[in-house]
Assembly symmetry: C2
Homo-oligomer: 430 residues x 2
């Protein structure tokens, strides 16, 4: 059994999980792999907070750079978070030719192209299994298991906080704000929940998946990112009546030589497996040209699931070091023909539009005409009798339409005298 | 890009899929991996049947041994099926130090211990991803992705024919024999469906999963194997009323130092994700000590999904050959402490028992007393009013009990004058 020195940067939740996992299951890993991870240092600015795991105080340091530079340390585990210091540390490690394991989705979404190029130039590598899907080995499945497949599309539920909120809103009929506050109380949601509920966390993961499946380095600035903030119970109920459930999805899809990358709430058919993913769980559905649909499901966050995947990556890197076979699999797919990011306005999908319409004869025909003027055809209309006032809610489900046409139609509809408020728009994924 | 010669033994459904996949997606694989699979020979006794894929006639031969011995062929793909000739070919390849890819679950279930030992002694390897779950990369997930985990349990829906039959029976209220005949018409079920519906195909896979998770070489003779033949629509309906759905499960579970390996129809809670797996799809739920539950879902059979996984394995083996790093991951887990197969009679679970009971006061108390005599306590009883005759159906759901006690109780219940027919017993998995 070969020993390899492991240095952990960042002793937060996941860092503590990795340390605990190496302690508890180190023998298991050594017996399975014939290589043993030996924790040689843990760097963090805060060395006093109790992480619920016992470590030899000799291992603790505030000097991350010394850890990176230590010749007895072969693998750097970056769990600092953020995109500034984490980037500096990762660059320093790669420049020294040391492989890096990271769970940092923001870092990879923003600086992945630079970091992967640097790793290649130094003949070393970055493993990032825990950046998407926590304990679910989805990165490995895409990179290795499905290597014979052209990927048609990926649909992911990648944020447990959002999926928990949506599940509770639907199952218990509770308002968004109430569920969010409750999730914060229970520790499922961050004190500042914006990164989760406004979709950015999911978007980071979508960018990583797009790179892995297609070699596309999409910028976060160029993709549609909509979260679940302010989603109404009414739309969740109406969706259910139409046979759909609302999920926050990351969608990565190839259409000819263009790749759609988008994050938004979407209606998915109730009887589809993706609709059955409840609570804090994550799931990723991959449609490959040979496999058809495969789905990967599990806990997408949390100390131990995430640490499991980090340690799995450490295992791979140790095997690569042992056998001198770094860069076994590509961090970004390539050579599958040139692809480019589809402009968000060019995406084609179906839409659910909920309008607040003046309750008089002939008003809906104005809406229908406006949609028709923009080339959007109506699949179904739902108007329920209400006695709530002069305005009634009307739901329109469209056939497939181009996003820029839908945007323009909504701008025109808002101008109609018979329409109050901005229509609610939710995209439909079949 | 290094070229590696591939020899395919067996030009059936999967063999044709592999040949097609290598033709269509060979460039993709080469660009991703930096190694190129070059198909050098296909051996089959039948060289005339049209397989729907065009191959150079130079590649075709009836002489499988010449393919194995050909020095230009680096990887042997065994898709012959069965456990006799397939074993001979596999042994010949391994003895020559050539790595083997196989999708042959029967071969591995029966002769895996021998074949893995031979591969080890010749410093070569067997990849078998397609032997369980077809297009789902479950073997890779268990062997590599979850390497940091002690596995608590595995629950698998691993036979698409059975799951299709159960789904149709439940959703459309059709009898077993009718659905089976229809599945045979559509080509989902074999002309001789015994291997599928009597559970042996699932049992082969359970043995492979037990070996991978625990290093346990279980014999098919020593495990519980019950299929779905003769399962009644009535029990499917009653299960639904109790909040369960019946699935044919492979269960591999660690209880202290013993491993349960069993295959039988089981009731699973309706709101559990495993209950939502419909039709021909397969799914495997793995409970690891770090990840918690993760689930893998997709097409468990068929030409292209299975070929996808075979080609994924070819990719791994080529990388191992290129870098001189064979035997990267263990084909059987080891060193996690000594484990042994639990005797089927020692398994503890809950039971659903449906009895045909004489419709007179006091008869149920005889059943309850008999169960009590065998240490089995009753959780609930369901007796619906009928006017069908002297005997009424009574459903008993038990608390957890030991299988040998349940067997003994059923033997005693059958002896009671007030009971007609053998009780129907279905195990419950929570």
């Amino acid at each position: 059994v070969n020993d390899f020195g492991i240095g952990v940067l960042g002793f937060g939740t996941v860092g503590a999980g990795v340390v605990q996992g190496l302690q508890d299951n180190g023998d298991l890993i050594a017996s399975r792999l014939g290589v043993r991870p030996v924790l040689r240092a843990i760097a963090d600015l805060d060395l006093t907070t109790d992480r619920g795991v016992h470590v030899d105080s000799d291992l603790l340091t505030t000097d991350a750079e010394a850890v990176i530079d230590d010749p007895a340390i072969n693998v750097i585990v970056e769990l600092v978070g953020g995109t500034s210091i984490a980037r500096d540390f990762t660059i320093r490690a790669l420049e020294a030719g040391k492989p890096v394991v990271t769970a940092n989705k923001a870092l990879l979404a923003k600086h992945g192209e630079e970091l992967f190029a640097l790793a290649e130039s130094r003949s070393t590598e970055i493993y990032f299994g825990a950046s998407v899907g926590g304990g679910i080995p989805i990165i490995r499945a895409l990179r290795e298991g499905l290597i014979a497949n052209h990927v048609h599309s990926i649909h992911g539920i990648l944020n447990g906080t959002c999926n928990y909120i949506l599940t509770r809103m639907e199952e218990d009929g509770i308002a968004f704000d109430t569920v969010l506050a409750e999730a914060q109380d229970k520790g499922f949601a961050e004190a500042d929940p914006a990164l989760d509920i406004d979709g950015m966390d999911t978007a980071h993961k979508a960018v990583i998946l797009g790179r892995l499946a297609y070699g596309l380095h999409a910028s976060l600035d160029d993709i549609t990112i909509e979260g679940i903030r302010g989603l109404s119970e009414r739309d969740i109920k109406l969706a259910s009546g139409l046979g759909y459930r609302i999920k926050l999805l990351a969608i990565v899809k190839k259409v000819e030589s263009e790749i759609e990358v988008r994050v938004h709430p979407a209606m998915v058919p109730l009887d589809h497996v993706i609709a059955s993913i409840r609570g804090v769980f994550n799931a990723v559905l991959v449609d490959g040209d040979m496999t058809g649909d495969t789905l990967y499901y599990g806990k997408g966050a949390g100390r131990e699931p995430t640490a499991s995947t980090v340690i799995g990556d450490i295992g791979d890197i140790m095997k690569n070091l042992q056998t001198g076979s770094a860069r076994r699999f590509p961090p970004a797919s390539n050579g599958v023909g040139s692809v480019s990011l589809m402009s968000p306005g060019d995406v084609r999908t179906r839409y659910y539009l909920r309008l607040s319409l003046l309750d008089k004869p002939g008003t809906f025909s104005q809406v229908a005409a406006t949609l028709g003027d923009h080339g959007i055809s109506i699949a179904s209309v739902l108007q329920q009798e209400t006695h709530a006032g002069d305005y009634v809610p009307v739901v329109v489900v469209t056939h497939e339409a181009v996003e820029s046409d839908c945007d323009a139609a909504i701008r025109s509809i808002v101008q109609l005298d018979v329409v109050r408020d901005r229509p609610v728009r939710i995209r439909i994924e079949e």
